[in-house]
Subunit: 307 residues, 2 copies
């Protein structure tokens, strides 16, 4: 398998799907459509859509039109969270991925509304998975298809919300302090802020392809470990990498006196954690007895990345 | 019918439903739960849940547990829109209904997140309508139930989003100017900002109770007229009422040089419009050939209110 070539193909496909589901820039409310599209089409790595699509394939999902609304929806949710994160009252960032942030280009009010618009539009878009083929007449088939989409919608909501990503954002913003069970809180932030959407992506892929509850639980666990390992690797790179390799400032956690896995456990223990979580994730993968070499390599590269 | 007594009963029931679906204030992310609950339990008139419930009854809806998730969800969406509206970058309001606004009590970052949290939680809550009675085995019945909930979810998303409420907010914030087809834009704002959620409320009530497409279309039209009449009545009261009756400053549109139905058409024409829209709405109601005296009176009072 030529991983890079395979990946380029997939990214191209995913970009097309996302673009197809974004609103047309017309009508009296044109500005918000522009702001939404600007936010989503800012050149992200599309990690979540990719994990969703590959988990769908892992479980034998063939009809891509069924999962496409969710592929677009998960990226809209990821994008809105960045737009709101960048607002002056939050992280107050003027640049993201080398471009001006949404509220800098469109103003703060439109930044808030574009974020709201994307979050809402994610659920509208996911609803398109409810559309069943009207030629189908067997009510058991119809029921199964809509039931799986409903389950996927439920997971999307839970993992994106106050018991998922937004919840993690709250704990992060309130800050973690040494006197205050810091490792437990840090785990909570990483689990909710990063793992939750990865769990949603992989679980939705699995469920729409017909995975049963036991399989979905293994996938959830696997995704949780991937997200956590990814985040700890982030802490490590901030200490061990260089600005040239990483493309962003290093030692920023130290400067901001931020509590991380490295400051709490030291660099060696942090590396051990990443290794342990990776092994757990891959063991979960193997226990499914299903084959998707590309997905396995993707997971490996996500965690052991050097930037 | 003793309208006031009936209304008190319904409000009590709706308050209970809303409270039951709000999050418990516990866990590391406790603050956002507090901020969400503070925002929703701020003493609104619960107009949208009321219209939803009564339209459900109008079409013979009996099992209230089926519609309760949507009753809570529509009010969460209405509440989040107020929380974000009040933010410094938007209307910058410190008080609402005599209480400090959410961002004043919890800070601006938490105001943004609480709004996001409520919007997301609305969809999570609505997903609860997908839970079908597990004793049910007939797949046609199962399919019908989940299909109606999916349709309701779709409407909730559309009417709340960029083609509905949020879209209206965008046009409103960008401002309406005399050189710029002002009546058309004003209609767009009123239709999206106010009517859209009323349409969602009444359509969801109708659809979950089993209304067919033609009936749902009549309900949508009726709700659009109610929303528009309600909003024009708002313009009129700003000119004709007193601060004592209205409980808020009058002549604020004039002070803010705001374009309204009254400034565009004059007070008499504006009143004629309200009358005409009311008649249309009631004619729609009558054409359904269904009886709900309370709902009819509620609609009448909503439009012809004096405050």
């Amino acid at each position: 398998m030529n991983f890079n070539k395979e990946q380029a193909n997939r990214i191209e496909y995913i970009e097309t799907v996302i673009k197809n589901y974004l609103p047309k820039e017309e009508g009296f409310q044109k500005t918000i459509f522009e702001a939404m599209n600007y936010s989503v089409l800012g050149g992200g790595k599309r990690i979540r859509p990719m994990l969703m699509l590959e988990t769908y394939r892992l479980f034998g999902g063939a009809d891509q039109s069924y999962i496409e609304p969710f592929i677009a929806a998960i990226e809209m949710i990821h994008s809105y969270s960045l737009v709101h994160d960048d607002l002056p009252a939050m992280d107050n960032d003027e640049y993201r991925r080398g471009r001006k942030t949404t509220h800098i280009v469109y103003g703060e009010a439109m930044g808030i509304l574009a974020g709201d618009g994307l979050l809402n539009y994610a659920f509208e878009t996911a609803c398109k998975a409810f559309k069943v083929n009207s030629a189908e007449r067997d009510s058991t088939v119809l029921y199964e298809r809509i039931r799986k989409a409903a389950k996927a919608m439920e997971i999307l909501g839970q993992k994106a919300g106050v018991y998922g990503m937004i919840g993690g954002q709250v704990v992060d913003i309130e800050g973690i302090h040494h006197e205050d069970s810091p490792l437990e809180k840090l785990n909570c932030v990483y689990k909710l802020k990063t793992s939750a959407l990865i769990e949603a992506s992989m679980m939705i892929g699995a469920i729409l392809a017909g995975a049963n509850d036991a399989e979905a639980a293994i996938v959830e666990d696997m995704a949780a470990n991937i997200g956590l390992a990814f985040q700890i690797q982030d802490d490590i790179l901030d200490v061990t990498s260089t600005v040239e390799v990483l493309g962003k400032p290093v030692h920023s956690d130290e400067r901001n006196e931020k509590i991380t896995y490295v400051t709490l456990l030291g660099i060696e223990k942090a590396k051990e954690q990443v290794e342990e979580l990776t092994q757990k994730a891959l063991a979960g993968f193997d226990s499914l007895n299903r084959k998707n070499e590309y997905l396995k390599e993707l997971i490996n590269r996500l965690i052991t990345r050097i930037k």
